[in-house]
């Protein structure tokens, strides 16, 4: 039996709706409105599709970039570091999801608030407590002597 090998045509052009659905669904948490992140699509000069996950305002710099080169999906960060590459998009988006910084702004704000509260406590209330403690140390022996 003769088997004729047909060469597969390279895949180029814009993302299909199915591909976009897969990517956006996988990154849904990262794209939550509270995150301030957005996404855009583009293409290379060869027509290979690119998906950009953008950070929040005002910079909106690329956090992750997913490209389709031929039949290969390539995941890079905003500095061009190659994070993952595979022919299976599902696998690539799993890596994309894991690569997105997960600390939410709410968490950052809560930590900042906690630090500010601690700082105020140390500056304002701790000297008062120390002073009270010193007074007690001075008066307790006298009170004990009277008793």
């Amino acid at each position: 039996m003769n088997v004729v090998a047909f060469e597969r045509k390279p895949v180029t052009g814009v993302w299909s709706e199915s591909e976009l659905n897969t990517i956006v669904a996988a990154l849904s948490a990262a794209l939550a409105p509270s995150s301030g992140r957005q996404w855009e699509t583009g293409a290379t000069e060869n027509g290979d599709a690119q998906f950009y996950l953008l950070g929040s305002l005002p910079d909106q710099a690329c956090v992750l970039c997913l490209s389709r080169v031929g039949r290969q999906y390539v995941l890079e960060d905003g500095s061009g570091r190659l994070l993952f590459e595979h022919r299976n998009l599902d696998l690539v988006v799993l890596h994309a999801r894991a690569a997105v910084p997960s600390t939410s702004w709410l968490m950052v704000r809560m930590i900042a608030l906690w630090c500010a509260a601690r700082s105020v406590f140390h500056e304002k209330f701790e000297p008062m407590l120390t002073e009270t403690e010193e007074l007690l140390v001075q008066f307790i022996p006298q009170l004990a002597a009277l008793a």
Binding site: V14, L20, V24, S28, L31, A32, P33, Q38, W39, E40, T41, G42, A43, T44, E45, N46, D48, Q50, Y52, L54, L57, P58, D59, Q60, A61, C62, C65, S67, V69, V74, E76, G78, S79, G80, L82, E85
Partner: protein
């Protein structure tokens, strides 16, 4: 290259808001880089190979205005385009850090 903007809904193709300045300036930097690469008669793939990148997709990412030229490869990028490194870095600083550029070099005409 084609750029399509999205938020978290496919149907919302544009927010209608003004493009933030940083993003707009990165796009201008990308256009300038694209022009310089064309002047050097290099494709995105050629430049990527010369910079030691496995894929040329990062060149596109930068030229489309989504990322900056990383400082660590700025010199090499300039050399491959046949440009003087300091001039290249100074020109990119105008787009990437306009305020710093203004402080260092004052207001210049393009």
């Amino acid at each position: 290259m084609k750029r399509v903007k999205h938020q978290d809904d496919f149907t919302e193709r544009s927010s209608g808001k003004a493009v933030p300045e940083a993003k707009q300036l990165r796009k201008l930097a990308g256009d300038w880089l694209k022009q310089r690469r064309a002047d050097a008669e290099l494709s995105q793939a050629d430049l990527a190979v010369r910079l030691g990148l496995k894929y040329y997709t990062f060149i596109s990412q930068v030229e489309n205005g989504f990322s900056r030229v990383p400082t660590e490869i700025m010199g090499a990028w300039a050399s491959e385009l046949g440009l003087e490194r300091a001039t290249f870095a100074r020109h990119l600083l105008r787009y990437y850090e306009p305020e710093l550029h203004r402080l260092l070099f004052g207001a210049e005409t393009k």
